[in-house]
């Protein structure tokens, strides 16, 4: 116990004195609320506001009424675009072609082809296209209804069945984005915050020739690994706590209900998130130590371990893609946590059996990694690469 305490105190002392590495470790936590604020703000203006859209009309003069309708909905002619936004709208290049015989066909009651030309795959064009479409549709419908009314037909006849859509998913797609982003950010925080400290205390010590000295001491390698892991993990836990607290505070300033998000970070959900993430922090540092102890140099460790950061970024994405998830995905580290976090953000009750199994799995894998690493540190291979 004296030994473990000494090892841990030394690791913490070194970690906290390396100001730059510590700042990097905690910067993710400090930046979290800013990121969340900015992203939510952008989403709110995009989905709620009715910003002007500038469209390149050809043949606008053939359908003045339609253009008027567009203008009512803040869909304006490209000629009026302010200088600042000119480039952006030129880039989006949304074109509407009104045929020459618009008025003629209208009076004859024939179908008119108005062409909307744009890159439908572009995310930035999504909202303008939607608005143009609905404007044209509603205009066309209102004319159609009027025609029927003039002929004495009840408009309701046109719609014998009305589908009432009731969305049971609480957040809208935008809110899902925000919560998914927050979830991914927390996972990244768990993985990245302890990274530099884990590398420094393993590959860094090897490079500074202090590891050999330590391995010559009457200490079991298990204690060494545990102390190093505890130190790096506690930094990432600290970072996550900062992240959660600051995010809770900053989310209070944004009206998330505008985008249909209902998640509120209350004490209960924060506790649930911490229960989820703390074992993951330990798992992440165990994984990082495992790889960086085997690297020959600091540089090599950095490049191998950086690959590990891909995990928290890729796994939630992959899960999003799979519609029909096999059950074991629930239990694995990272994927299990990521799905549970989604539930927490949606305000759904936490599935405690899933939480217990994924936590047990994470802890189990961490223990296995630690044991393997402790064994590896006894091997000659590690000693030989010391010199």
């Amino acid at each position: 116990m004296i030994q473990f305490k000494a090892l841990l105190i030394k690791e913490l002392r070194e970690a906290f004195r390396d100001k730059r590495a510590l700042m990097v470790a905690l910067s993710m936590g400090l930046l979290a609320p800013v990121m969340i604020m900015v992203i939510s703000k952008v989403m709110i203006t995009e989905s709620v506001g009715n910003p002007p859209i500038y469209v390149q009309f050809t043949g606008a003069e053939y359908a003045p009424k339609l253009i008027e309708k567009f203008e009512e909905n803040n869909i304006l002619q490209f000629a009026n675009v302010p200088e600042d936004d000119k480039y952006a709208w030129q880039e989006r290049s949304i074109e509407v072609d009104i045929p020459e015989d618009f008025a003629e066909k209208m009076s004859e009651g024939k179908a008119i082809d108005v062409v909307l030309r744009a890159d439908f795959g572009k995310k930035a064009s999504g909202s303008p296209i939607r608005r143009i479409r609905s404007t044209v549709n509603s205009y066309s419908q209102s004319i159609g209804y009027k025609r029927l009314l003039v002929r004495g037909v009840d408009v309701k006849l046109l719609r014998p069945i009305i589908l009432q859509e009731q969305d049971t998913a609480l957040p809208t797609s935008n809110a899902v984005m925000v919560s998914m982003f927050l979830g991914m950010y927390l996972l990244m925080g768990a993985f990245v915050s302890g990274l530099s400290i884990a590398i420094d205390s393993s590959a860094g010590e090897r490079e500074r020739n202090v590891l050999e000295m330590l391995l010559c001491q009457p200490v079991s390698t298990l204690k060494i690994v545990l102390a190093k892991m505890t130190c790096a993990s506690s930094i990432s836990v600290l970072s996550i706590i900062i992240m959660l607290t600051l995010t809770t505070v900053s989310v209070g300033f944004i009206d998330l209900t505008k985008i249909g998000a209902t998640f509120s970070l209350n004490a209960f959900s924060i506790a649930a998130l911490l229960i989820l993430l703390v074992p993951l922090c330990f798992f992440a540092t165990a994984l990082q130590l495992f790889f960086s102890f085997q690297a020959k140099s600091f540089k090599e460790a950095q490049s191998t371990v950086s690959m590990l950061i891909m995990l928290p970024a890729m796994v939630p994405m992959a899960i999003m893609m799979i519609d029909d998830k096999p059950a074991w995905v629930n239990w694995l580290p990272i994927s299990g946590q990521s799905m549970l976090m989604e539930d927490v953000f949606k305000g759904l009750p936490v599935d405690w059996t899933v939480l217990a199994s994924t936590t047990a799995m994470t802890i189990g894998m961490t223990v296995a990694l630690v044991m393997m690493l402790a064994q590896k540190l006894k091997s000659e291979k590690v000693v030989m690469s010391l010199s």
């Binding site: 030994q3 090892l7 070194e14 004195r17 010590e205 202090v210 000295m213 010559c216």
Partner: protein
């Protein structure tokens, strides 16, 4: 007491095999300073690393105070004060904190630990370094800190791999006096060096190592007599250069 019996160790690579130890045997007794001499690549460091239990010998055994290092490496390390061939310092810690760390690793605590640390700083005349961070220390100052952390728990056996490289004359003297004092107290001291005068002045017995095995051993005078030379340096060169029946 350190006993090394018939150690064999080969490093096998994909391309070639290096035989680092080839039947090395010697004994370092309590109350004596035993010097290891040997040219570069003779197997000194490999032998010492086997002694700490960092490497496992292919054949043979190492006993420290009657404990086999293969069976209980931690118990052996408890009885050793190690000054390794390559060493570094925790540059973000002060000298005092480093020595404190190693003292704690040896299970010391409380007032006893504090007294031991203060004693070693006093003995090695490095009190003014104690509360400075070790970043920027000179080679000699680094050596002192490493020595202090190797000796703070007053081990029964010292294993020092070239402890005087980079030390100035004053510090070398301090170290020599320190070692002599512990010899009087009955500690076993094993140290390697390349400085012949130092070995001649300090060591009770000298072990000469070449090609992974013992080439000769005895007091400095005996070795000179064996080789028929006046100076230990000449004797050393002769003893490792020719293996015509001088191996003891």
């Amino acid at each position: 007491m350190i006993e090394v019996n018939n150690l064999h160790k080969s490093f096998i690579d994909k391309k070639n095999t290096v035989k680092a130890l080839d039947g090395m045997s010697f004994t370092a007794k309590d109350g004596e300073i035993t010097g290891i001499l040997g040219p570069n690549g003779a197997g000194k460091t490999t032998c010492l690393r086997t002694l700490y239990g960092l490497l496992t010998a292919d054949e043979g055994s190492v006993m420290v105070d009657g404990i086999n290092v293969l069976e209980d490496p931690l118990a052996v390390r408890k009885r050793l004060g190690i000054f390794p061939d390559k060493f570094g310092l925790y540059e973000r810690l002060t000298a005092y904190e480093q020595v404190d760390y190693f003292a704690s690793l040896h299970g010391m605590q409380g007032a006893k630990k504090k007294a031991a640390i203060e004693q070693i700083f006093k003995d090695l005349e490095m009190e003014e370094l104690a509360h400075r961070k070790t970043v920027g220390f000179s080679q000699g100052q680094r050596m002192k800190v490493t020595l202090a952390q190797a000796l703070v728990h007053q081990p029964k056996n010292f294993v020092l791999d070239e402890p005087t490289r980079g030390l100035d004359v004053m510090s070398t003297r301090v170290l020599r006096n320190h070692l002599a004092k512990f010899k009087e107290k009955g500690h076993c001291i094993l140290f390697s060096s390349h400085v012949m005068q130092e070995v001649a002045a300090l060591c009770d017995r000298v072990i000469i190592v070449a090609n992974g095995k013992l080439a000769a051993q005895g007091t400095p005078q005996e070795l000179c007599d064996l080789a028929g030379e006046k100076l230990l340096e000449d004797a050393f060169v002769k003893l490792i250069g020719s293996d015509e029946g001088v191996a003891a």
